[in-house]
């Protein structure tokens, strides 16, 4: 590759990525030269600034035509942008949480906490934009490895160490399975480019070896289910979520999971649908497996959550269940899949970050992650209790919240395409979920706790309010988000090389 060629690429499409990269690099350098005892709080502010600048770049990119660079391995399109915006907004909110976490704890992480969040974010963004299995994999690993360290960032905390260790081992297994699946796909089609794979799949040789192809995709599905914490690769999630620092848990349950969905959507939709259209037989063959995974995930997540006393662990199972819900539109496979998935992920982002913000606030003051930490919260801080109620109601999927609209949309897409079993599983498990969600409400309002008043910091307040307002606003007037998505993002771009 000549320098000329290199310079001729439209690097502008990577502006948000570059911003994050530069900020992360600078942060690590500044951290290196800062006095050991100095507060690392300004680093977080700097990181936040970087995220905001990246958001601005990304917003200006809305409506830009599809561009691909670096021999079609990296691609800018509406799909990538829509997901990048989610990653950026979520990471921004999480950085604010992380800042507050520093205020409460004295652990020695020397700033790596902040720039590792950014490198993980960078990995997620790469995953959204890649058009090649190799770059996808690099993005995936960048995200994963950063997350492994983040999970164990409280070096002296045994739980945190355990979390990190389990995360690494499981991640390794998942990566191996994913790579194995990818190697089959490569072997069958002779290319790693997603669009090339799509074309390659039409060849008669592949048709004859459909079995191998299905196996390859099932392995990919299993490997990638690790990232979204869906069955059968969900078991790490409760331990890791419980052991990690709360901002990291939030990151894992929101950004990392959303990136996983972006990846799955991308690999499966492009390689199957861009050439052969919606009625490809392989897609139809694969549908039952995804439906199976979705159903099992919903059941496992919601049923086991019932027994949890640790609030972070409970939300971990709840997030497993939510992964099951998000897989549902994927089964129904229509153009609505993007709208439904994106909206659900947006709602999930808001309500989950909000809920974790409250959890971080409460558990740190109580020094306990048990459900009883929430007892009598309404008496101690009515504001926080009301905020938590909004998030819980949304997570449970009741009307006037974004969670309801998201779930309703998914439910309708399943009904509309005749997946009645899956729709019923969804309804049944949702009903089950009411029990453990409302348990939190009962604790907050009807149980007596200590009566000492507690007050959240400004940063916490901002995160809670932003999330609650978003949750309610998109619940009352979802058209705001859906119009934005509809007008700004043309998802059919994904299928045009």
């Amino acid at each position: 590759m000549t320098l000329e060629k290199l310079l001729s690429y439209e690097w502008g499409i990577m502006a948000p990525e570059f911003t994050i990269l530069i900020v992360a690099t600078l942060l690590s350098l500044i951290d290196l030269f800062m006095p050991a005892k100095a507060s690392r709080r300004p680093l977080a502010l700097f990181g936040l600034l970087g995220v905001v600048i990246a958001i601005v770049f990304a917003v200006f990119q809305i409506g830009e035509p599809t561009t691909s660079i670096l021999f079609d391995t990296y691609r800018f399109d509406s799909f990538a942008l829509a997901f990048k915006l989610l990653f950026l907004v979520a990471t921004g909110l999480i950085l604010v949480l992380a800042m507050d976490y520093e205020g409460q704890h004295n652990w020695q992480y020397r700033g790596e906490f902040f720039y590792l969040l950014l490198t993980a974010l960078l990995g997620a963004m790469m995953m959204a934009s890649s058009a090649d299995l190799i770059t996808l994999f690099v993005g995936l690993e960048l995200l994963s490895i950063s997350s492994y360290i983040l999970a164990g960032v409280r070096k002296t905390n045994l739980q945190s160490n355990e979390a990190a260790f389990k995360y690494v081992v499981n991640g390794g297994i998942a990566t191996a399975i994913t790579l194995f699946g990818m190697s089959y796909v490569y072997g069958l089609t002779g290319t790693t480019n997603l669009y090339g794979i799509a074309e390659g799949l039409t060849s008669p040789i592949v048709e004859q070896n459909k079995f191998l192809l299905l196996m390859a995709f099932v392995m990919l599905l299993v490997g990638l289910s690790f990232k979204i914490a869906a069955a059968p690769f969900h078991m790490w999630a409760p331990d890791v979520y419980q052991g990690s620092p709360t901002p990291v848990t939030t990151f894992l349950s929101v950004v990392s999971k959303t990136a996983g969905f972006a990846l799955i959507l991308k690999i499966f939709l492009i390689s199957f649908l861009s050439v052969q259209g919606w009625h490809n037989t392989v897609v139809l063959d694969l549908q039952p497996y995804i439906a199976f995974v979705a159903g099992v995930t919903m059941i496992v997540g919601n049923v086991i959550a019932l027994r949890q006393r640790n609030i972070k662990r409970m939300l971990a199972y709840s997030s497993i269940a939510h992964a099951g819900y998000v897989l549902v539109p994927f089964v129904s496979l229509s153009l609505l899949v993007f709208k439904a998935t994106w909206f659900y992920l947006l709602a999930y982002l808001l309500m989950n970050i909000g809920a974790f913000a409250v959890i971080q606030f409460v558990t740190e003051r109580e020094k306990s992650e048990d459900m009883t930490a929430f007892s009598g919260l309404y008496a101690r801080s009515p504001f926080v209790a009301v905020m938590m109620s909004v998030f819980i109601i949304s997570l449970a999927g009741l009307p006037f919240t974004a969670g309801f609209i998201g779930k309703f949309g998914i439910f309708m897409s399943a009904l509309g395409t005749g997946h009645y079993v899956l729709a019923s599983v969804m309804v049944a498990t949702t009903v089950v979920s009411y029990v453990y969600y409302f348990n939190v409400l009962v604790h907050m309002y009807f149980r007596k706790g200590i009566l000492e008043r507690i007050r959240p910091s400004i940063g916490m307040l901002v995160v809670m309010i932003v999330c609650a307002v978003g949750t309610i606003a998109f619940g009352v007037y979802p058209a705001a988000a859906l119009e934005f998505f509809h007008n700004g993002f043309d998802m059919s771009q994904l299928f045009v090389k």
């Binding site: 297994i173 079995f211 299993v222 690790f226 690769f233 790490w236 609209i405 949309g409 007037y477 859906l482």
Partner: protein, 620 residues
Amino acid sequence: MNPIIWIIPALPLLSFVLLLLFGRRLKEASALVGSLLTFGSLILSLVIFAGQWGGESVKATMEWLAIGDTVLTVGYLVNPLNALMLVIVSLVSFLVQVYSRGYMHKDERFPIFFAYLGLFTFAMLGLVISPNLLQLYIFWELVGVGSFLLIGYYFYKRDAREAAKKAFIMTRIGDVGLFIGMILLFWQVGSFELDIIFDAVSGGDISEGWITLTAILIFVGAIGKSGQFPLHTWLPDAMEGPTPVSALIHAATMVAAGVYLVAAMFPLFEASETAMTTVAVVGGFTAIFAATIGLAQADIKRVLAYSTVSQLGYMMLALGSSGYVAGIFHLTTHAFFKALLFLAAGSVIHAVHTQNIHEMGGLWKKMKWTAPLFLIGAMAISGVPLLSGFFSKDEILASTYADGRYGLFWIAVVAAFLTAFYMFRLFFLVFTGESRSSDKKLKVHESPGVMVFPMVVLGILAIVAGYINTPMSTLLGDYLAQNQYLDIHHHETHWWIPVVATGVSFLGIFMAWLVYAKKKVARLSESAPDFHYILLNKYFIDETYDYSFVKGTRGFSYLWYYVDRFVVEGIVQLVASVVSWFSKIGSKVHNGQVQIYGSVAFAGMAILLLIVAWLGGYLT
């Protein structure tokens, strides 16, 4: 005027949010916040109401959700009926909040009470301006939630908890009917919008059978909410809530929602003779049925509760007899005099600390304001001429007669007699004679001004509200007739109907006077003890439910218990042991056995791959 309409329900919602967040700091100033915001709603409602005289119906919607080709909308609809309801709801809610300032004084959870009132008012206001069934249904459920919270306000009392649960479950039974009706209508018409449904009905796009079915299902919802037979049992129990709540729920809001629903869906009902007859018969039966129970109750609030059930029956009877105006008219006047009666009863309870009328008596001299106000309310509900109840009841009787339902007409006349009788039984027992209180030292005080003021306002309304629609001037009728989907016809007036109504009303009062003030005639409990016993026990409806449904279900469950024990349990045991086996593994995993996680993932993958292979026929 468009933005105003949104603000009307938004203000009580704001009150709810504010009080929930800052109630602790506001303490008893919460009442001020709640009342002022609701007063704002009242003023705006009056503006809307004024604009509806001769004005056009206003409907505005915006897209809420688009699923495939189906677009769901939210918005508001203002027509004469809705505007009238806005005024009634916000007015009564405002007065109740002012009253509660005095009644709930020194209650520990004072701000929460007002927050709930705000939520409830919001739900009810949102309900009456809903332009489509889906939105209506959401608010309908929200009203249910609000009533649950309010009835169960004294949640530390077992009865209150039970009553709240009962109210919620009983109305939920009705709601299922409404929900199915709504879905069926959507299936038939393809829209939840009321006007589209009405167009389809009048255009003959739905068959007669479907209209009847959906109308009756929707009426089932109304039966639940409005406490009609056989789903009425929650309503008297709901008296466990604080008295201002009873006034709010029973006068203008929750129970009126059922009547409102039938009125709002009137074009649908009108299209089916069967549905109309169902409404009329259920209404007429409830009217007399509840009135007889009211004869024997000893709890002042329960008497009023059964009277509410009975009066709601009247309204349904009117609607079922094509008496649209009569039904709404009675809804309006009833809202005022029933709120008045409840608030006055609350004032009495506040003074004597008991709800048992046999322990009251002789309060006329001691409660200079409450007693005459209660008398006004009692006279209004009994249909004493020139008070509001007289005109509206007369209108109902007239429209029932004009519709040719002579049997129901005479039932309604008898119910009117019973109403006058039990209301004045209440009046004479509570206010005249000597005090029968067991606590001789009890000093009875008139309630504070903040409680008297709302009663005075309602007292005036209970007198004058009737003049909006007299045989001479059909003001309300003309106003309500400005609805393109309604065909309101004036029926001819029979001079003898008001005479009969007046006659039975005075007869009832006279009888009550003979029995309870003069004590010339033996009481029901002495002259017909068996009948009295039946009435006292409310026809054993609760017991019937208990024996048929609850015990039946329990018996059924015993049957299943044995099936379960010997058949299912074996399987369950197996499953349970598998689960516990898993949980054992889970706990091992906590000790660091991360291998298990990997094994599960591999096992999962292996299963999936096996299925692939098996389905693909590669294993054979």
